[in-house]
């Protein structure tokens, strides 16, 4: 795949075997990025969760039944980014500094073509005007703009944190950021250290080492979207749920064919 190459490539590795499903990543994300919460959030098809925790199971009955969790931020696709290429108003772009897919809220017309284009369901439309319960507005982050109704929003890998880190580095007359100088809110909040974040292009970074492991895989890799989010697990049944396979296919061989 001819992935668009940038000097820096921010990415994430999530160790699914370390994830306990506590949801701290989701809460940290909601809080960090000024996501509003309605009184009734029971309609999950309209609930905005930039970082979403899927509960998955192996479909077997007791005693073979197993379950696990699958945290899903934006995959920040690197090849022909599905949502970016379809936007009619150029309201979403791939940043050349790190390859993060960002959304320009004030330019989005709300056509939702990008929502249709994304197979990971990471894009959320604002079906309502954002209303923050009384008092909650005091906890809003000044670094992130709240979104108006009628536009699409998504995980930005906490892009504002990158901006802050870059400002700090510039003040200290440094061009490059140190490892862990810029990490996302979910990475920071994870109590088991399941999420590792950094520059995938820098072989010194832990994230690059983990992503290079032979058992690292990505979600729906066969589509060719080149996600920047990698996953790790020792369990084959979880690994198999990350992509579509024909009944006769062995997922290990499919991966070998590709590389």
């Amino acid at each position: 795949m001819n992935e668009t190459q940038f000097r820096l490539k921010y990415g994430m590795v999530i160790d699914l075997d370390k994830c306990v499903g506590c949801g701290a990543c989701m809460v940290a994300c909601q809080s960090e990025n000024n996501l509003y919460v309605r009184l009734d959030e029971s309609d999950k098809l309209r609930s905005t969760t930039w970082m979403r925790l899927y509960r998955i199971n192996n479909g077997e009955k007791f005693p073979e039944a197993k379950f696990s969790f699958f945290p899903r931020p934006c995959m920040q696709c690197g090849h022909h980014t599905p949502c970016v290429s379809v936007c009619p108003a150029t309201a979403t772009t791939v940043d050349e500094e790190g390859g993060i897919v960002s959304q320009i809220y004030t330019r989005c017309i709300g056509c939702r073509y990008c929502v249709a284009a994304c197979p990971y369901h990471v894009r959320y439309f604002n079906w309502w005007d954002p209303v923050f319960p009384e008092g909650m507005e005091k906890s809003l982050s000044p670094d992130v703009s709240p979104r108006m109704r009628g536009v699409v929003e998504k995980c930005t890998f906490c892009h504002h944190r990158l901006m802050k880190a870059k400002q700090k580095a510039a003040m200290e007359k440094r061009r490059d950021l140190k490892e862990n100088e810029y990490i996302t809110a979910c990475t920071q909040a994870c109590p088991t250290g399941a999420i590792t974040f950094g520059d995938l292009n820098n072989p010194e970074h832990q994230v690059a080492k983990l992503a290079a492991r032979p058992d690292a895989f990505r979600l729906l890799e066969r589509l060719g979207t080149e996600p920047k989010v990698y996953y790790l697990t020792k369990h084959d049944w979880i690994r198999k749920l990350a992509d579509n396979y024909l009944p006769e296919e062995d997922f290990r061989n499919v991966k070998k064919q590709k590389h």
Binding site: R46, I56, V86, R107, C108, A116, A117, G150, L223
Partner: protein
Amino acid sequence: MDSALFPAGADRCSPGKFYGWIVFCLMVLGWGVLGALVCIVLALNQTAMNDYFAFGLWIVFDLAVIALGAGAFFTGFLTYILRKEELRSIINTSVIIGFICYSGAVGMLGFDIGQPLRGWFGFWHANVHSMLTEVMFCITCYLGVLTIEYLPLILENRKLNQVPEFHFMAHNMHQIMALFAGTGTFLSFFHQGSLGGMYGVLFARPFAFREGFFIWPWTFFLFIWSAIASGPCLTILVAMITEKVSGKKLVKQEAISLLAKISGWLLATYLVAKIADTLYWGYVMAPAKGLTLASFYREGPYGMWLLFAEIGIFGIIPALILTNREARENRTLLAIAAVMNCTGICINRFVFTVVSLAIPVMPFEKFASYFPTWQEWSISFGMLAYGCLIFSLSYRYLPVFPHEHELNAGSGHAHAHAH
């Protein structure tokens, strides 16, 4: 009462009857306007759409009416460019239907986007890589062309035409109509294709994705093909309904027959291409992504029956009727074939719009269902009512059918208001 406005030599039903129908249309349209206002004021949470069904009834409706409105550009192309003179009997009908379909679709799209006031951003910040940008440009421009094509017909209203300026303007516009027909053909060709391209380029949605030629996925060509195969059938159908309701012969049989024949052969050839596309998609493309044809059709109500309905029942059957001379000369069979052809295209657009999104791509994702709310239905039916309104008013006051007088000369009632 309003007979002075009727086309010369034509008689129409009583004002009471006509305006009763108009009031009914206005009531349905008013219901649609109410739905639209509710959506604009309270935002799109008033619909049943969600983050899984980003497109819903409105986009299905838009795509269906735009495909069915293709009768306008295609009949214009046949009449003015290929000089099929017999189609002059039905060209006005196709132009009005085209105008209704396109203006209605553009209006509906205005409610469908989350930020209607930013609709122009698609032109200002245009992303040239997006199929939707192309759709926006072409639909808007083509609506302009359709307005230009419709205008001389309005100016030919008996009273308006007495104004010399209007008379000459209409006359001169008719003289250069081939130019607009050509422009319309070019624009329409591309946006019908781009609407198909919109789905075909979704490479991360294996249900919709298609390979293709250069930058155009096969759906680009299939959408053009299916639109020109079914659009003329809506034109035929509307002409036949108008004849039935008015109890008059309005269009020359040769025009209907020619259009039906062209429509039939286009549908037949389209089906060959569509079946080939389906087989390649189901047996070559899907397995490469770890999927099978069957895996696309096991979700909720969207089973294999959709494929059989679209291609088999509402594709092959009307194609057989329309390509058979004896069958299409039978008006009942022709009407059935036309309805089936139009239904087939609606199913096709529904499948690409709703089913594409309903099929989960992630294996652990669940199927979500969608059923439109009254607000979505109201705007859709409002659009239909708007169409009936425009066409009814046009039929009553404009010379839509140039051969009406000639075809009804012997019947007696055509002379009722003749001078």
